[in-house]
């Protein structure tokens, strides 16, 4: 069992932010597709 160390917390926060940014980027991509004429 791994521990809730500061490094794990920092990496955990990073991966969560990456997930959130991936959703935002996907939204931007769909917006881009629908803005093409």
């Amino acid at each position: 069992m791994r521990l809730q160390t500061p490094l794990n917390v920092v990496l955990g926060i990073t991966i969560e932010v990456v997930y959130a940014l991936a959703i935002v980027l996907a939204g931007f991509f769909i917006g881009f597709v629908f803005s093409l004429r």
């Binding site: 521990l3 955990g12 997930y19 959130a20 803005s35």
Partner: protein, 500 residues
């Protein structure tokens, strides 16, 4: 046979309710301190009066109902459902005293909207509201997001063995750690760590946009609390449109998504199980539903020709969509633009997104991703049973922290809550239509209230009928508590009248 309610039930409920209200009174100290620090004497007095009333109420209840007995399941559920109503009534006092709410009902509407992390508001002249009252609006949102009872469990109801019953009653059926008090504290740890990081990020963006440092960080803290707790209140009447900043919008979008994640998922990721974020049924379902609902929204907007450029479709279309899907309710457009510019397809897509919500055991409302995933898996299983040979064994499973086999019991529970939510959305839509609003607009506003979102198409105004205000208050309350504790309260009253 229904057993008659006993005096002991009332005493137990009253005692724990009193303890929770004392917790609420102590939180009122925060705006008092801010008010005195920034020389807002009258607002500070509003809070001192409210604090005294709340404290007195809690102490009298504790004295009258003193007991050392533990809560049973029904009592725990009733404590939760009553706590939210009483917190609304007492939390609305300082709002009403400020003079920015036309009636006490309007103040109660905003207090319930805050506690239930909805974000619909009836405040007047928000731009000139005192800092203390503004902070209180966001504090109640932060408390509601964590759960009023969790606030009490973490700090004021230490060692209560009936804690788990209240924890479950507050729509958090997932225990992160074996001890429910430790679970509550972990929820606070995540929120406070993100509070620091989020306020810093928003504060820096605010300063770079030209805001004064104090104002940038005050707005940053308020906006963070509303975004992470998927609430939707903002310190200015124009909501997030006030900042006119792409960076601010991106940071708030990230915070909203983080707030829509399951606290149990946060725990496992912070423990080092980082792959969980890509494997979990909730994060996968959330990704898929965001993409599909935005695809439909963008198609609807394209058909209307409303936002032809990529930047605009992203900042106006996607922002409202993600805000609705996470249950936040931040807006970068004016309410009536939904009706005048968006068209029915885009509007219907946003209604779907609002109805779905974020993860279970998060701060969001609505049906939630785990249930959507389970219902989808149950449908897949049934289709496979029809298609495959009769003797074939069909077993569906999904990944939620660990591999879980789909059972009829879990599918039934997910479907029951899904149906209850759909009924609640429909109820508000019918009342709205009865009050004279078009059906689609009524459904939009009703879903927003019941799913604790806060996006508005313009129905929520000071002048709307009192019946609709009361309906939305009920929807926000029932939607936030996910029905069980509301049913328990109804059962309690039935037992008091008809019990033997």
């Amino acid at each position: 046979m229904i057993l008659r309610t006993r005096l002991e039930d009332f005493k137990n409920i009253g005692y724990y309710l009193g303890r929770i209200m004392i917790g609420l009174a102590l939180v009122m100290l925060v705006p008092v301190v801010l008010g005195l620090a920034v020389q807002e004497t009258n607002p500070a007095l509003d809070f001192i009066i409210s604090l005294e009333i709340t404290l007195l109420f809690g102490l009298i209840l504790m004295k009258l109902c003193y007991t050392e007995k533990d809560l049973n399941w029904m009592q725990g559920m009733i404590v939760v459902s009553l706590s939210w109503v009483v917190a609304m009534l007492l939390g609305a006092i300082p709002l009403y005293l400020s003079g920015h709410w036309k009636s006490y009902l309007d103040a109660c509407f905003d207090a319930m909207s805050g506690f239930a992390t909805t974000g619909l508001t009836l405040v007047q002249d928000l731009d000139h509201l005192s800092l203390s009252h503004n902070l209180w609006r966001h504090l109640i949102m932060f408390m509601g997001g964590q759960g009023i009872v969790i606030v009490a469990l973490s700090f004021f109801v230490k060692g209560a063995s009936g804690a788990f019953k209240m924890y479950v009653g507050e729509a958090r059926d997932e225990k992160i750690l074996p001890n429910v008090i430790d679970t509550s504290r972990f929820i606070w740890l995540v929120s406070v760590v993100y509070l620091v990081l989020g306020t810093l990020a928003l504060g820096v963006v605010g300063i770079l946009n030209g805001m004064q440092p104090f104002s940038a960080f005050f707005h940053g803290a308020c906006v963070f609390m509303a975004a992470f707790d998927t609430g939707g209140f903002a310190p200015q009447s124009q909501n997030i449109l006030y900042y006119h900043s792409l960076a601010y919008e991106i940071v708030t979008m990230v915070i909203m998504v983080l707030g829509a994640l399951n606290f149990k998922l946060h725990y496992h990721i912070w423990m080092g199980h980082r792959k969980e974020i890509w494997r979990n049924i909730e994060t996968r379902a959330f990704f898929i539903t965001v993409i599909s609902t935005f695809f439909l929204t963008a198609l609807g907007l394209r058909l209307c020709g409303t936002y032809p450029e990529v930047g605009v479709i992203f900042r106006k279309g996607f922002y409202q969509l993600i805000s609705g899907h996470t249950g936040t309710g931040f807006m970068t457009i004016y309410a009536r633009q939904f009706i005048n510019q968006w068209g029915d397809l885009a509007l219907a897509s946003v209604i779907c997104a609002m109805a779905l919500g974020g993860a279970v055991c998060s701060t969001t409302g609505a049906i939630k991703m785990l249930r959507i995933g389970i219902v989808f898996k149950a449908m897949t299983e049934d289709i496979k049973r029809i298609v495959m040979p009769e003797r074939a064994m069909v077993v569906e499973r999904f990944h939620h922290i660990k591999e879980v086999f789909l059972t009829d019991k879990s599918a039934r529970a997910a479907l029951m809550i899904t149906l209850a939510y759909l009924g609640l959305y429909g109820l508000g839509a019918l009342v709205g239509t009865y009050c004279g609003y078009p059906f689609l607009q009524s459904l939009f506003e009703s879903t927003s209230a019941a799913a604790n979102v806060g996006l508005s198409c313009g129905i929520t105004q000071v002048g709307m009928p009192a019946l609709l205000k009361l309906t939305y208050i009920f929807q926000m309350w029932a939607g936030r508590l996910e029905f069980m504790s509301i049913f328990a309260l109804a059962g309690f009253f039935v037992a008091a009248v008809k019990g033997k």
